[in-house]
Symmetry: C2
Subunit: 125 residues, 2 copies
DNA sequence: CTAAAACCTGACATTGATGTCAGAGGCAAG
DNA sequence: CTTGCCTCTGACATCAATGTCAGGTTTTAG
């Protein structure tokens, strides 16, 4: 498929796809005239990339991990495994923090609701 | 306390504290000579702001929610409550996504480890 | 064949939070 | 009083991901 279709199917802009390639996160075969062509597999790959972005990884970090996805053997494995474990921890910590923040929001909302009700009560008297 | 101390205690740069004030997230009383002064309460507030930033809220969004924290009564409550619920949902979704990403990373790591072991095995033969 | 739509490269713009610098003033200790 | 550190404002720089535009080529549909 060409870049437009990949963009449509992944909800990622054409611009971004080209940027991913520039950053070494994505590869494409080129037609004789130079147009990028992708296979089905790239759809999943782009979604995975998006997911890592959403997890707060930079493209540099993603670029370090993806080779490990492509060829899960090789000498890279050792350092890459370390790297992944590290990012995994960062992610876990981040998740914990978000959960705590959500809890804080819940308390805030409960307080606000309580105030609203006490106001309604005051008004009804 | 002055801005330097607040910065030190919250691990937020002086520059950022001034930025928060500019964005309406933080207020300070000024001394006669124009220097900012803060109370103990601001320490917690800055930490909370950082927390919301980490949760992916923009300063604009934070600015919408904080009034509701300061005066949890008033007419703002109604719209603000809606806003908070909305952000709360966004946050929950985000957390879910991160958890799924972490799971994907775990699978990747397991695969890499398996490969490493099978290689070690091959070498030992 | 022709026009519209999609693609190419390369460049510049944008956004948000933050860094950094310059020039000036404030404040505490020696 | 002076020296050193902190603070002030205002401006410009940065970074990463993405948007946007221009000028040119390719592909597709009629």
């Amino acid at each position: 498929m060409r870049i437009g279709e990949l963009a449509a199917r992944t909800d990622v802009s054409v611009r971004s796809l080209r940027y991913y390639e520039e950053q070494g996160l994505l590869t494409s075969s080129r037609s004789a005239s130079g147009q990028r062509h992708y296979t089905e597999a790239e759809v999943e790959r782009v979604r995975f990339i998006q997911r890592l972005y959403a997890a707060g990884l930079s493209s540099r970090t993603i670029a370090e991990l993806l080779p490990c996805v492509d060829t899960p053997s090789e000498g890279n494995s050792d350092a890459a495994l370390e790297r992944m474990a590290q990012e995994r921890n960062r992610l876990s910590e981040h998740i914990n923090e978000l959960v705590r923040t959500r809890a804080a929001l819940d308390i805030l909302m409960a307080t606000a609701r309580a105030h609203r009700e006490s106001e309604a009560l005051a008004q009804s008297v």
